[in-house]
């Protein structure tokens, strides 16, 4: 397993990693609370506990690199540097939302930071990432495409078809399996044959790397090596981040569907943000500097929520826009009762 003994990157980058993890955690803490109060419709799948996986991976990418994610979609765009206002507005179903109120919690995809979708059909991002990598290659750009997927998705054919295509065509793709130990209520050990998802890389003749998903530096380092390899034209890498989801599959469902074992406390004890904070302090970063980030993020999240609350709901016409490039006509009987 990849382990980082000390933090990587200059001081600004180290603080940025910490800041992004805090932004995810605080954004979701607020979202969970207002979801419980009924302000966010639909299901809310939180990323808490997995922040180091997303942030470490995205810190190894350039802003113009591509990324495809999953239904557990809040962490990835924030990890890649997205603004919080349009994300929070999306959760509330507002017209200023990143998807104009048509995607919601499972689809917080911000194309301005290189996202090509947070897709809620498990495994379906695999072929998309391979295709984006192919596009970059055909255009002569040195961009890479990173595909986040879960341990559950590792049993989907789409992921394997994407990896095989990327491997056989030596595409600049990185497949990051965020193994959070559960596919909804099913423990990974009941669903995935073999000990590690990363072992499956051998079948494609590509490197398979296992990394401590609670260690943001370790994840960044592993993904950086994969990115270098991809940019050099040597093809894809499969990385498995061993991580843990704190909350149930979706929050506020009334009962916990996830069968927790004795390891639960151990995982929570290795909280990625606390671990990284301790590392930074050990290395001489002042507690004040980190607390100032905490406070700035608190204000940013409060501002995002206020912005979302102040925003209007979409006009009804919006429901008929973006099916195609040209807006669809609205049937008269539907409009009459909208």
């Amino acid at each position: 397993m990849h382990d980082a003994q000390s933090s990587i990157g200059d001081n600004d980058r180290r603080l940025e990693k910490y800041r992004r993890m805090q932004r995810i955690r605080q954004f979701e803490t607020k979202a969970e609370a207002i979801h419980a109060a009924g302000e966010i419709p639909g299901a809310l799948h939180t990323y808490a506990g997995m922040e180091a996986s997303g942030v470490g991976a995205c810190m190894a990418l350039r802003p113009d690199d591509y990324m495809v994610g999953t239904h557990r979609s809040h962490g990835h765009p924030i990890a890649k540097g997205a603004m919080l206002r349009p994300l929070m507005a999306e959760l509330l179903g507002k017209s200023t939302g990143i998807c104009r109120g048509k995607g919601g919690s499972m689809h917080l995809s911000d194309f301005s930071v290189g996202s090509l979708g947070e897709t809620s059909i498990v495994g379906s991002g695999g072929p998309v990432a391979a295709g984006a990598a192919l596009g970059a290659k055909l255009q002569g750009l040195d961009r890479v495409a990173l595909c986040f997927f879960g341990d559950g998705a590792s049993s989907e054919g789409a992921i394997h078809e994407g990896m095989n295509l990327a491997a056989v065509w030596k595409l600049p793709a990185i497949f990051v399996c965020e193994n959070n130990r559960f596919g909804m209520s099913t423990p990974t050990s009941d669903a995935v044959a073999g000990e590690h998802v990363a072992d499956r890389a051998h079948g494609y003749g590509i490197p398979g790397v296992i990394v401590d998903g609670q260690d943001v530096d370790a994840v960044e380092q592993a993904v950086r090596e994969a990115v270098d390899r991809a940019r050099a034209g040597k093809g894809p890498t499969l990385i498995e981040t061993k991580t843990y989801r704190y909350a149930d599959h979706a929050v506020n469902m009334g009962r916990d569907l996830t069968p927790r074992g004795p390891e639960h406390d151990e995982w929570v004890g290795r909280d990625p943000i606390r671990l990284y904070r301790a590392r930074l302090i050990e290395e001489g970063v002042g507690d004040d500097a980190l607390s100032a980030i905490d406070e700035a993020v608190r204000q940013e999240v409060a501002d995002a929520l206020q912005y979302a609350r102040d925003s209007a709901y979409p006009d009804f016409e919006e429901a008929f826009d973006h099916v195609f490039v040209d807006r669809l006509p609205i049937p008269a009987d539907v409009r009459a009762h909208a």
Binding site: V68, S109, A129, L134, G135, Q139, L165, H322
Partner: protein, 331 residues
């Protein structure tokens, strides 16, 4: 203007668009070896980077076309046979059809997925599908189903230039048909516009894909009965040219929908419903659908051939709809 086949029309459309736009590229199973004659000379002319043979991995490479389109390419996927789209339903329906919508217009997916409807050749039920109606029920996909070389070339070129995903269903029974096709590299047929293939006054026959030549033969034969049939080819199924169909039915007062696909929830069903909802007052007789019944296609030609819309079935339907005597049933 040269006389070319339907397959040559596909080849020309692709070659012209590959030459015109460097973001156009092709991928599919065994396209370099030019199985059907639609990629003749492409590897030599455009290179292996742009003419890509794929693994037998439809969900993978069709989804990859979606990803490539999202980053600015214009892929043409040759999915070979239409039943090979089924393994890719996940990517077609969940990614390609929905990404523009679900992300609020951030994504653009200009891609074409071509597939052949290879029926009537003793290929049995898994290789004889005509599945366009399944995709008509999924918003976000444009669908073309041309019936002659001219429409094939003009529509395919328009599809490649279109900024939305387009499924192109190519009817194998039309492959060898020849017609005059313009050489103009900007010859396009607009997506969403149907065509009157034959004018008439007594009955409108709306026919789809390979149903069109059959309907035209039936219309010719109906002249002997003094029945004047108008034949409409929608050419595009999504968006459907409802105005053209309704105008014709309002003129003739009678409608027959000819569709080589299965009956239930077919394109013929959608067209019939549109006519009944919007031109009921003009109808002088109930609408008739002439389709393949809801059974699978068997291998043995003896029992396969009569299942599709035939000239005889269309002629009978036309006689019935105008109140003329119908030949006794022989099956």
């Amino acid at each position: 203007m040269a006389k070319i086949t339907f397959l040559e029309a596909i080849q020309q459309a692709q070659a012209e668009e590959l030459a015109r736009d460097p973001s156009v590229f092709m991928m599919g199973e065994d396209i370099r070896c030019n199985v059907f004659g639609t990629t003749t000379g492409f590897v030599e002319r455009f290179g292996e980077e742009r003419i890509r043979d794929t693994p037998i991995s439809e969900n993978g490479f069709i989804g990859a076309a979606g990803g490539a389109a999202m980053v600015g390419m214009r892929p043409i996927v040759d999915a070979t046979l239409s039943s090979f789209l089924y393994p890719a339903m996940d990517q077609i329906c969940s990614i390609i059809a929905k990404s523009r919508y679900i992300y609020g217009g951030q994504a653009r997916l200009p891609l074409v997925i071509r597939s052949c409807m290879f029926y009537g050749n003793s290929n049995a039920a898994q290789h004889s599908d005509r599945p366009y109606a399944m995709f008509m029920n999924m918003p976000g996909l444009k669908i073309i189903a041309p019936s002659d070389p001219r429409d094939m070339k003009g529509l395919l070129k328009a599809a490649i230039r279109d900024d939305d995903p387009v499924l192109c269903f190519e009817d194998g029974t039309c492959w060898m048909a020849k017609a005059e096709v313009p050489d103009d590299p900007d010859f396009l047929i607009p997506i969403g516009k149907g065509d009157v293939k034959r004018e008439g006054t007594d009955v409108t026959i709306i026919a789809i894909a390979g149903g069109v030549p059959t309907a035209l033969k039936a219309a010719k034969r109906l002249e002997a009965d003094d029945i004047s049939a108008e034949v409409i080819d929608p050419r595009t199924l999504v968006p459907l040219d409802r105005d053209l169909i309704l105008r014709s039915v309002r003129k003739t007062g009678r409608a027959i929908c000819v569709d080589p696909a299965h009956l239930t929830c077919s394109a013929a069903s959608e067209i019939s419903a549109t006519i009944v909802e919007q031109a009921f007052d003009a109808l002088r007789a109930p609408v008739i659908r002439v389709t393949t019944p809801d059974t699978h296609l068997p291998f043995s030609p003896h029992i396969e051939k009569p299942l599709y819309p035939t000239v005889e079935r269309i002629v009978d339907a036309a006689r019935r709809i105008v109140g003329a005597p119908v030949a006794p049933q022989t099956v």
